[in-house]
C-alpha cells in the first residue's frame, strides 16, 4: 500500500477517536437530567414518605427515558470506534 494512502487512513482513525470522545459529551446533558429527576424524587419522598414505592418507580422510568439522548451519543461513539464506516469509504476510493 502506498505510504500516503496509509497515512490518510491513520488520520481518519485518529480523528474518529477524537470524534468519539466529543460524541460522549452528550452524557453531560443526560447526567444533569437524571440528577434533576433524582433530586426531585428525593424531595417528593421527603414530602410524602408513604408513596415512596410509586415515586421511585416513576423516577426510574423518567431517568431511563432521559437516558435516551445519552445513548444516541454513545451509539455514535461506538460506531466510530468499533465499526468505522469512514475508513472503509476512504479505502474504497483507491480500490
Amino acid at each position: 500500500m502506498d505510504y500516503n494512502i496509509a497515512e490518510g487512513g491513520a488520520l481518519i482513525l485518529g480523528c474518529s477517536a477524537i470524534g468519539a470522545g466529543i460524541a460522549m459529551i452528550s452524557g453531560f446533558g443526560t447526567g444533569i437530567g437524571q440528577g434533576y429527576a433524582a433530586g426531585k424524587g428525593a424531595e417528593a419522598v421527603g414530602r410524602q414518605p408513604g408513596a415512596a414505592g410509586e415515586i421511585t418507580r416513576t423516577m426510574l422510568m423518567g431517568a431511563a427515558v432521559a437516558e435516551t439522548t445519552g445513548i444516541y451519543g454513545l451509539f455514535i461513539a461506538i460506531m466510530l470506534v468499533l465499526a468505522n464506516p469512514l475508513v472503509d469509504k476512504y479505502y474504497s476510493l483507491f480500490s
Partner: protein, 251 residues
Amino acid sequence: MNPILLAGADEISMEVEVLRHFNIFGIDFAFTNTLWYSLWIAFFLILFAFIVNRKLRHVDPMKPPKGLQNALEMAIGVLDKFTAETMGPSGKGFSAFYGCLFLYIMCCNLSGLFVWFVVKDHTVIFDFMRPPTADFAVTLGLGLITFFMTQIFGIRSKGVLGRMKALAEPVFLMTPINLIGEVANPVSLAFRLMGNILAGTIIMALYYGLLPMFAYLLTPVLHFYFDVFAGILQSFIFMFLSMLYVSGAME
C-alpha cells in the same frame, strides 16, 4: 477493513459474530450468534410454558393455590392490573402479548450472566452468552412490532380517516412532524434498549480484559448493575412505552 481499536476482549464477544453462511434462493443469510442464543432463549421459554401447562392442567380450582401456581397467579394478577392501569379498560386483552414481550426481553438481557456453548467452525466453544438484545436487528424488530401494532390498532379503533385525522393534529401543518415522530418511535425504542445492553456488554468485555485478579473482584458488581438492574429496567421500560404508544393511537 475494520480495525478493532479496543484490545483485550477475548472473554466476551463485543461484535456480532457470523457462525455460518447459508445461501437460500440466492440470498446470503448469515446465521449469527445473536440468532443462535435467541433461539435457545425462545426454546427455554417455550419449554417452561409447556411444563407449567402440563403441571397446572389438572389443578383443582376449589383448593387454595400453593407453590408455583400461587406465584404465577400473583405475577399474572400484577401484569393484568398494570396493563389495565396503563392502557385503560379497553386494553386489558393486551396483557398476554406484553407479558410475553417482557419475559422475552428480560431473558435476553439477563442471558449475559450465563455461559452457553456455541458451535463455530465445527468446534464447540463455551463462552458467556452475548445478549441478543445487544444486536440492533433484534431490537429494531421488536420496535417494528410496536410500530405496526400502533398503526393497525389505531386504524381498527378509529377507522382510516380517524387515524389520518389524528396525525393532522393540532393543525394541518403539523402533519410532517407527526409523521416523523411516528417513525421515530420504534427507532428510539430500539436504540434505547440496544444502547444500554451493548454499552454494558462492551464495558464488561473491557473489565474482563483487565488483569484476572481485578476482573474477578470487579465484575460481579458490574454484572449486577449492567445485566440485572439495567436489563430488567430496560425491558420494563420497553414494555411500558410500547403500551403507551399503542393505547395513545387507540384513544
